[in-house]
């Protein structure tokens, strides 16, 4: 599993936000867009084009799966994280934490020098 998650990293900001939004549960496209806006405090927003471009990649990679829809032509298609998707998100968060630690350390060193 470790090997599987590592090959998907690093994630683009849009991909990270979409995966993060799906931790809220099973969501349709518009709900994902709203969740991304909410989670980022309105600082990051994606449109339908960006969303489905990323969902297509995530579906192909097996990080996200589509729920079985009734097929009545009216029900919105919903998506959810797979186990692999959860793992990749956790690995990316861990990776970003490392980057943040390093950035803070570098900034502290820089402040001491100046």
């Amino acid at each position: 599993m470790r090997h599987d998650t590592a090959e998907h990293l690093p994630l683009s900001p849009a991909t990270l936000h979409v995966l993060l939004a799906l931790t809220a549960g099973e969501l349709h496209g518009y709900a994902i867009m709203v969740e991304v806006t909410r989670q980022s405090g309105g600082q990051y927003r994606i449109g339908p084009g960006t969303l489905y471009d990323n969902l297509k990649k995530l579906l192909n990679a097996g990080l996200v799966e589509e729920l079985d829809a009734p097929g009545d032509g009216r029900t919105r298609r919903k998506y959810r994280l797979t186990e692999l998707g959860n793992g990749v998100l956790a690995a990316e968060v861990e990776r970003l934490s490392g980057v943040l630690r390093e950035a803070r350390r570098a900034l502290k060193l820089s402040e001491r020098r100046s």
Binding site: G25, T37, R45, P48, G49, T50, L51, D53, K56
Partner: protein, 419 residues
């Protein structure tokens, strides 16, 4: 829905590779319709055009290995002529590029000159639908999250289907904002709320302020504050936020047996008045009648946090000054009194005599709900307390007085009936 915009967006969706369009096109259109209620069309159009470029570029690079580039009907190859099962040639890419550039130019012209200047869109669209040409060129608008429609507007009284379950996983989810303001994300009659106690559902349904919630909480059984419920409900149609409140009240009555009645009595209040007659404070401004950012809901009133039109937003508490920023955009002062009651600890009545909508920012050190200093705080907050901040920044004053206060008395409530 503004029909010319939908028409244009549909065109852009059709420019995508056929397989992508078939898989996601319908969802993109639905998302576009919903996004348009609080986003600007320009940003969504641009996003869709970028998507067209990305998808076709991916097809060109993959040389047909991508499944979504397989030969299917596509506008780029003529709507009904199949593409060859081969990489795109220069001619096809050129046609795609030209079509995209024409659309970008058309969108740019339309956005820069205003939709009202291009009445032909409405006329052409209405004619193609066999319908009447809309007067004034406007097909429909939304304001404050509520649909503005014709006289035949439907009244929603109750949900068609309801499911209530006790929440076991602790996850909280809202399919639309349950705030007391008008900000709303249309869900086409679907409501999914998870992980909230009964009191939160009541607060939404009856649009209670914090003081009314505190008063009701004392009357409710313990489980109404502690047990969390997942509520899923659906109704045919497209209810607005007030409709959702009406249907939530019916849901609470039918499934929880909830019975409340309002009680109004005269008690201590604050009257919200102008500090100096005819003069607003430095952070309070009349909302511009024609605000292009309002429908987009993107430009913040105060730097650093998000506040779409019709809402009041809060920043996180500053750890040093312990102050929070509050910003309202296109709200009435009577809407402001809802929050002012919470922050000042008394019911606030709007006596400013100011009509219309306003933008404001306010920075203050919050006290505990119900007013007065926070007993858990080791020292008083360094920032301005709410009444002082309102006076200094907004030019308004909270004057103690007597006035009508409405609270709710609980008559009956039960745990929910089985689904």
């Amino acid at each position: 829905m503004r029909k010319p915009e939908l028409f244009l967006y549909r065109l852009i969706v059709r420019l995508h590779p056929a397989a992508f369009r078939e898989e996601f096109g319908r969802e993109m259109l639905l998302d576009f319709e919903e996004s348009l209620t609080h986003e600007g069309a320009a940003r969504i159009f641009f996003d869709a055009l970028l998507s067209v470029v990305r998808q076709w570029a991916r097809c060109a690079v993959s040389g047909g290995a991508d499944r979504t580039c397989e030969a299917q009907a596509s506008l780029l190859a003529g709507q009904y002529a199949p593409l060859r099962d081969q990489p795109l040639n220069v001619l096809e890419l050129s046609r795609g590029l030209m079509a995209s550039l024409m659309l970008v130019g058309l969108c740019g012209y339309w956005l820069s000159h205003g939709a009202s200047r291009i009445r032909s869109f409405d006329i052409v669209y209405a004619a193609s639908q066999g319908g009447r040409i809309p007067e004034g060129g406007a097909a429909g608008q939304t304001s404050g999250g509520s649909s503005v429609s014709g006289p035949a507007e439907r009244r929603f009284t109750q949900f068609d289907v309801i499911s209530i379950r006790e929440n076991k996983n602790g996850n909280v989810h809202l399919s639309f904002p349950m705030s007391p303001d008008d900000y709303y994300v249309p869900t086409h009659g679907y409501m999914q709320i998870a992980g909230l106690p009964l009191l939160s559902y009541i607060q939404f349904a009856y649009r209670m302020n914090a003081l009314q919630v505190v008063a009701l909480r004392k009357q409710l059984p313990d489980w109404a504050n502690s047990v969390r419920y997942d509520v899923e409900a659906r109704v045919e149609g497209d209810p607005n936020k007030d409709d959702m409140r009406t249907m939530m009240r019916a849901l609470l009555a039918s499934r929880f047996g909830l019975q409340l009645h309002p009680v109004t009595q005269t008690d201590s209040v604050y009257d919200l008045v102008l500090s100096k007659p005819g003069k607003l404070g430095p952070t309070l401004h009349a909302h511009p009648a024609d605000d292009p950012n309002c429908k987009q809901g993107t430009a913040p009133v105060a730097k650093g946090f998000f506040s779409p039109c019709g809402t009041i937003g809060f920043s996180m508490q500053d750890p040093n000054t312990r102050s929070v920023k509050m910003a309202g955009r296109s709200i009435s002062l009577s809407q402001f009194t809802w929050y002012a009651s919470t922050e000042s600890g008394r019911t606030v009545l709007d006596k400013t005599g100011l009509a219309g909508k306003y933008d404001f920012t306010l920075e203050f050190a919050p006290q505990k709900v119900g007013g007065g200093p926070d007993p858990n705080a080791s020292e008083p907050p360094p920032g301005a307390i709410f009444p002082d901040a309102v006076q200094e920044q907004m030019g308004l004053k909270l004057v103690p007085g007597k006035g009508p206060i409405t609270t709710y008395n609980l008559d009956h409530v039960d745990k929910p009936t089985e689904n």
